[in-house]
Amino acid sequence: MPLATSTIKGIKFSFFFRLFVYVSFALTLIVLDTKKQAFNPIKEKLSDFDVLINEKLSPIKTYTDGLYAHFSSKAEIAKKHEELKQKQLVTDVQLQRLSSLENRLVELEELLNLKLKSNSSMFIATVIDASDSPYEQWLKVRFNVNAPISAGDYVVNGDGLAGQILSINEDTGLVRLISDQRASVHVEVLRTGFRAVLFGSGEYGLLKLKFVPESVDVKEGDVLITSGIGDQYPFGVPVGKVTSVNKEIASSFSRIIVKTSADPNSERDFLILTDLVSDDVFSPEH
């Protein structure tokens, strides 16, 4: 219908005319702003207003920033705590290793002191194996292949006698500990000079002084040293200390228990004596 068509055309013309006007106006504004800076005063005033708004809102912003920092810092602290725990674990393990290395160092220093004081031959030996069986007490040690070590040589540490070489194989040797039940050592009571034979009890660190008559003067605390009988073995190496003296039932002998001076189960390095030891190598107070 002509009326409807002209109305539609009229509406469209009106739209495009208005669009043209607005677009022209917008382009004019753009030119005015870029070439003439006509709107700068208004923009400056509005930027002040913008700053004012930001200043008023800044406490809220500070509060929200603080909240965020609080929660994120908590999470960070928890994370750092975990990391530190891990590091602490590693440090603890390292410290344990260090302390065992320190102990070893002290042992080696003692052995070195011993070696320096002695006129005789001493050769260092390091433990490479130990007995697992409760009925046998031995250590396997390694030493310098050129060392003139032979079966029967005494094995000592800074505290006293630990054992005796049983057999040799190139640079290793089997050491029977003095507390082994098959071991025996000729000893002398330091205080009185009384000589006897000390036997291993089969228990770690304990020895028995057998066949000592009740009348013999042996007390608790007496130090026993090697007697050097036959000049085959060194004299004066501390062996142990008497811990108890009891009368045996149905026997005329005393039951004397001796604790070893050396503790071979807790050390790794020993010295092997290949010659007679001088008198002042071991302190009598050991």
């Binding site: 607005y22 677009v23 106006f25 917008a26 504004l29 005015l32 923009k43």
Partner: protein, 164 residues
């Protein structure tokens, strides 16, 4: 039979446009101004496409554009021109747009915004010797991807009409 109906009210249009204007003026936190979306432009284009009789008019688009330019400290008239072009596009394609698939709608929006941004940036670059930011052109197109989200947020209405 139950029919879902959407309720377009001037109040809804007013609030969505106000929200869009605030975001356009102050920008999104953490997003560079160069690639920041023109939220008001998207809202305006949305209502121009689906508003029907309640769609924003040329005058409204012009005034809103001026507001955004002045309040955000940009070149006055630039956003006005942009919104006028968006209203023009909506007048030509609104019927076909309403009947097309969501994927076509998103593609159309992305291309429209990209071309409008290209036109304006080219105009400024040629006549005002201003640099052309390619990131802005790409961002203008990419922000069209939030079109379905806008439809969900703006026009979500749980009212139901039961037709017997």
């Amino acid at each position: 039979m139950t029919v879902y109906r959407t309720n377009i009210t001037t109040k809804k249009i007013f609030f969505s446009i106000s929200f869009g204007m605030i975001l356009s003026i102050f920008g999104l936190s953490g997003v560079s101004l160069i690639i920041s979306p023109d939220v008001l432009g998207l809202v305006l284009f949305y209502w121009a496409m689906v508003g029907g009789d309640a769609r924003p008019k040329l005058g409204t688009a012009f005034v809103l554009g001026c507001f955004v330019d002045i309040l955000s400290g940009q070149i006055v008239g630039l956003h006005s021109l942009k919104y006028l072009l968006l209203v023009l596009v909506s007048m030509q394609f609104d019927n076909r747009f309403r009947m097309s698939t969501p994927l076509h709608k998103i593609t159309f929006v992305m291309i429209t915004f990209f071309l409008v941004e290209l036109l304006l940036s080219g105009l400024l670059s040629l006549y005002m010797s201003m640099p052309l930011f390619t990131e802005r052109l790409i961002a203008a197109g990419v922000w069209g991807l939030i079109w379905p989200l806008m439809g969900f947020l703006i026009q979500k209405d749980y009212s139901r009409v039961v037709v017997k």
